[in-house]
């Protein structure tokens, strides 16, 4: 995966006041490899050329090649019951806009941009319809306490893999604006540089930089007040 000079997610954005390496779970890389920025391979170029010339049945081969990649991106961003529908929309949009694909980046990367923007549209649409957001339960509070008291890396990792962890994350993300959610997911959770996030979202660098900072502050404020005694 290519990463720009801005660095890789949380680790590059934060000046740590404490030695975070000493804490369980803080030694692993924050980068991800789901959005490679490389030029399309020869066989992929050939496939694209044939589809553009009218051999539409070859598009199934292209879906086959890239489906897992798109499912991975979408699966992390939208509720599980909407993943299939949104992956479908991504491939239909990609087909409609195939003429705009310039081949200056990999098809994967181009497709990732469409997937990310489609997920952003999903949350924007949800925000317009004021879908009620969940609250933290007793189980979630217990998960927070257990995570904070984890004594080993293995224990910390087990905590991170629980259903409660995913639900607490969703609880926090639901409280962010669709724009902040999109940026926070890309920059802080996926670990992409501000420049890459701006490219994928089609937004300006300044906009993404400002939102990345604000979104992280918002997330930190939410997490700060998740102890049972505070209002969450």
């Amino acid at each position: 995966m290519h990463l720009g000079p801005e660095g890789s997610g949380i680790m590059s954005h934060v000046a740590f006041a404490v030695d975070m390496q000493a804490l369980p779970g803080w030694h692993r890389s924050m980068t991800d490899d789901s959005l490679p920025v490389v030029k399309p391979r020869q066989e992929e170029r050939e496939l694209l050329r044939r589809i553009k010339q009218g051999e539409i049945e070859r598009y199934a081969d292209l879906i086959d090649l890239h489906q897992r990649h798109v499912i991975r991106i979408v699966g992390r961003r939208v509720p599980s019951d909407r993943v299939e529908e949104i992956v479908h929309d991504v491939f239909v949009k990609a087909y409609v806009n195939l003429g705009q694909f310039s081949e200056s980046v990999s098809f994967d990367h181009w497709l990732a941009g469409i997937a990310i923007r489609t997920c952003y549209d999903f949350w924007r649409d949800r925000a317009r319809h004021a879908v009620p957001v969940s609250s933290l339960t007793e189980e979630h509070h217990r998960w927070i306490e257990q995570t904070l008291s984890a004594q080993s890396d293995a224990q910390f990792r087990r905590q991170a893999e629980t259903r409660d962890a995913a639900e607490v994350l969703e609880w926090a993300l639901q409280r962010l604006s669709p724009e902040n959610r999109a940026v926070l997911t890309l920059v802080h959770l996926d670990g992409y540089s501000v420049r890459e996030a701006a490219q994928l979202l089609g937004w300006t660098l300044v906009n993404v930089k400002v939102r990345a900072h604000r979104a992280r502050q918002a997330l930190r404020n939410l997490l700060r007040h998740t102890s049972p005694g505070s209002a969450s």
Partner: protein, 102 residues
């Protein structure tokens, strides 16, 4: 009000990031549904191509015709003005025509 410390917040952030990364992928296949829609789109595109071209042709022709009419009108007015030699000529016409004949 109880608040978590900076260290706790960092730790929770890390746990949530790990949780996000550890999400398992979905076993779904959208190829059939996408291809069904792609074929449908292709049929619609082909079906709509002649009217779309015709529409374009009509608009282009209308624009060009309007431009020709405008240029012709401007030329006619210009020609008329140069031949008539301005308002003085019209004035002479009026003066030479008696109001009442004897």
């Amino acid at each position: 009000m109880n608040e978590h410390t900076d260290i706790d917040v960092h730790k929770l952030e890390r746990a949530l990031t790990d949780s996000y990364r550890s999400r398992s992928s979905y076993e779904i296949d959208v190829t059939r549904q996408v291809m069904r829609d792609v074929r449908q789109l292709d049929i619609e595109r082909r079906g709509w191509t002649p009217p779309a071209m015709l529409d374009q042709l009509i608009w282009r022709t209308a624009t060009r015709a309007a431009a020709v009419v405008l240029i012709a009108a401007l030329l006619t007015v210009g020609l008329f003005r140069s031949q008539s030699d301005g308002p003085a000529f019209i004035g002479e016409d009026f003066e030479s025509a008696p109001f009442f004949e004897d």
